[in-house]
């Protein structure tokens, strides 16, 4: 999905708020220093400390909302220390304590980062009214000196709404990168008829080191040193020639989609409330969503509500041991794959091994540094997501498989009823798909299928769920989407698909798609499976009506009136 204008406006506005906040910070730091300078080591420090504590409390509560998570953490720790001093009966801060307080207050300004501390682009979406398909095109830069391949790639990428800019050499690319960056960079490894190896040239190019966009290499030969250099350059793909262009396009759209992936969800189970809260803050600052389990007895309810992708579990807790809770989680079939990682001060390797034998996947030894915690959590969730993808997703299209999309439809219909907002289900079927397969072969049929998959991913919102239902049949679930809006989006998809050109050996042909849709608002009493049947009926109506069209399902009790 491409960022919409509304999302752009939101980002801009957030940046404005952040710079306004940053502008005020130096004055705030100056105030804190001045207050600290008034400390005398006597009982009358109490008032000064009170004010310091309040100001630090505000900083702790605001920094993270403006991309200064470290400032929040540092201010909070100072606030707590001052709180502890204030609780003491007698107040006497000796000179070394006052000096270290001074140092730490001065250090606060150094925690403010130049760029917002949001290591990954946040997964955000704009309010429903503002959500529309985007006219913003993403820019793909292609470094390729073979004219024929250039032309072919350019044409394909442009039909998927990407803007392509072509460079013949690394030098040309470097020149352009000084002024701006692409959204994605596609580089042929062998340039100048093999005289220039792009991975070698790019490894020590500072612009590429600083590159903030995904990178994909294309190569005619599969040599190991180039592959390793590609990895070192942070490449997200390495495609061999002859190029499977639809797969490349599908990978590109997947990469863009991953950049907007939802925040990783981590559940923290630890009886040390301070530590749990600290971990929650650290993970939240790293762009994840973290919950702390309040009561061990509610663990299954919490998991069902929050749907964590990772559980960080303290091994020793007073009431129930971590291994007991892990065991309870594993009793539920739905959560046999949920990664569980134990946290403990335990360094005895045998006990660790024993604990891992009981339902957990790994062990992190406390004290664990913030960086280590974030890295461990992020890596685990990423692997779990990949695994889930393998299990639930169709290998050709990367869309959900039949069973998973049905389940998603069911879940979203239930959720729609709960939150009182409509969900729209659409069933799409490629017209005369069997003829395509019979005439041009299954390889060409696969190209058609990947193209509709890419188009759906691109035109629907990030929150929409798409699955491959059967051969040439797809299902899209559009949560919080009214019929009228869904129809506009689906019409747009239908039109775009009809304008795509497919071909084999110079023979060109076009394809169309028929779509049936139903909105839960029209079927207040029907559940997911029933709505899918209704969508199928609407699809049948579209086919009978001459194909290449969208039809909306009408509930039985109103049918006489409208039909």
């Amino acid at each position: 999905m491409t960022p919409t204008d509304a999302e752009q406006a939101l980002t801009t506005r957030l940046e404005e708020l952040r710079s306004r906040y940053l502008e005020r910070l130096p004055d705030e730091f100056a105030e804190l220093s001045a207050l600290q300078g008034r400390l005398s080591g006597q009982e009358q420090d109490r008032d000064v400390l009170d004010e310091l504590q309040q100001r630090l409390h505000k900083l702790a509560g605001s920094g993270g909302s403006f991309g200064c998570a470290s400032l929040s953490i540092a201010a909070r720790s100072l606030e707590q220390r001052i709180g502890a001093w204030l609780e003491a009966k007698e107040l006497s801060l000796d000179a070394p304590t006052r000096r270290s307080l001074m140092d730490e207050i001065e250090a606060l300004s150094r925690t403010v980062p130049e760029r917002p501390e949001r290591p990954e682009r946040p997964a955000f979406r704009v309010a429903p009214e503002a959500r529309t398909t985007s006219d913003n095109t993403l820019e793909v830069w292609l470094v390729e000196d073979n004219a024929e391949l250039c032309r072919q790639l350019q044409q394909q990428l442009e039909s998927f709404n990407y803007e392509v800019r072509v460079f013949r050499s690394i030098d040309e690319l470097k020149g352009a990168m000084e002024s701006r960056q692409p959204d994605l960079l596609l580089v042929d490894v062998m340039l100048e008829q093999g005289r220039e190896n792009a991975t070698e040239r790019l490894v020590d190019c500072p612009q590429v080191q600083a590159l903030d966009c995904p990178l994909i290499f294309l190569s005619a030969n599969d040599d190991f040193p180039s592959r390793v250099r590609a990895v070192q350059l942070g490449a997200q793909g390495y495609f061999l020639k002859p190029l499977d262009v639809p797969r490349l396009v599908s990978r590109i759209s997947q990469i863009f989609q991953e950049r907007h992936a939802p925040a990783q969800r981590v559940l923290i189970v630890d009886d040390d409330a301070d530590l749990a809260e600290h971990m929650r803050l650290v993970l939240t600052a790293a762009g994840m969503e973290a919950w702390v389990l309040d009561a061990p007895r509610e663990i299954m309810e919490t998991i069902a509500a929050f749907r964590p992708e990772l559980v960080l579990m303290d091994l020793y807790m007073p009431e129930y041991a971590g291994t007991d809770l892990a065991g309870v989680i594993r009793q539920h079939e739905a959560y046999t794959h949920l990664p569980i990682v134990y946290l403990s001060a335990e360094t005895d390797i045998e006990r660790q091994i024993d604990a891992m034998g009981r339902g957990a996947d790994d062990f992190l030894t406390k004290p664990i540094s913030d960086l280590q915690l974030v890295a461990a959590a992020r890596a685990r969730v990423a692997r779990a997501r990949q695994l889930e993808e393998r299990i639930n997703k169709d290998s050709l299209t990367g869309l959900l498989k039949h069973a998973s999309i049905k389940e998603a439809a069911n879940r979203e219909v239930l959720r729609a009823r709960r939150i009182g907002r409509p969900v729209t289900l659409a069933m799409l079927d490629i017209d005369h798909f069997k003829v395509v397969n019979d005439t041009y072969g299954h390889a060409v049929g696969d190209v058609v299928i990947s193209s509709i998959a890419t188009l759906l991913r691109q035109r629907l919102r990030q929150s929409d769920i798409i699955g491959r239902y059967g051969g040439g049949e797809f299902v899209a679930v559009l949560p919080e989407c009214e019929a009228e809006h869904a129809r506009r989006v689906l019409e747009d998809i239908r039109r775009n698909f009809a304008s795509l050109d497919f071909g084999r050996k110079g023979e060109r042909f076009g394809c169309t798609i028929s779509i049936g849709m139903v909105c839960s608002a029209d079927y207040p009493d029907q559940d997911g499976p029933e709505l899918l049947v209704a969508a199928d009926e609407a699809l049948y109506k579209a086919k009978r009506g001459g194909r290449n069209q969208v039809q909306q399902g009408v509930p039985a009790h109103t049918r006489e009136v409208t039909d």
Binding site: A6, A9, L10, R13, L14, L17, R20, Y21, R24, Q54, H57, K58, A60, G61, S62, G63, G64, S65, F66, A69, S72, R76, E79, P122, A123, F124, R125, V126, A127, P128, E129, A130, A263, A273, D274, E277, R280, L281, T284, E289, V292, D294, A305, R418, I419, G420, R421
Partner: protein, 127 residues
């Protein structure tokens, strides 16, 4: 169940007011009214008829808990769910705030991109 639409946010700090307004209106699509103090909230809340109230805990003048108490005294608002916003989120404190009648506690600093989802979850839990 009715849809969450109108949110009253009571917060004294202008920076946070601005980012919360953006987070709830633009990201969440809610109708938001900001009050800069507990006193202002008690005066204006009934006319705004919020579905949900978010209260900063530490404010000069009336703080969060006393604002909650005053709001509960207004019959039309007695049932409206309230969540506290605070930078102090020890479990014992959360229990304390809940015992005062708050549905939940939202930790500060909040992530502007995630705040709406968090608020929506609280609303779903409350209804």
């Amino acid at each position: 169940m009715a849809e969450l639409q109108r949110i009253l946010y009571v917060e004294d700090e202008p920076d946070i007011q601005a980012v919360a307004e953006l987070a709830l209106e633009t990201v969440g699509g809610f109708t938001v009214k900001i009050c800069a103090s507990g006193e202002e909230a008690v005066r204006d809340a009934e006319a705004f008829a919020p579905d949900l109230i978010l209260l900063d805990v530490m404010m000069p003048g009336m703080d969060g808990p006393s604002t909650l108490e005053a709001l509960r005294g207004i019959p039309a608002l007695a049932e409206v769910p309230v969540a506290f916003m605070t930078a102090k989120v020890q479990p014992s404190e959360i229990e304390h705030y809940k015992s005062l009648g708050a549905r939940d506690v939202i930790a500060k600093p909040f992530d502007p991109m995630a705040l709406s989802d968090q608020v929506r979850r609280i609303w779903q839990g409350a209804a």
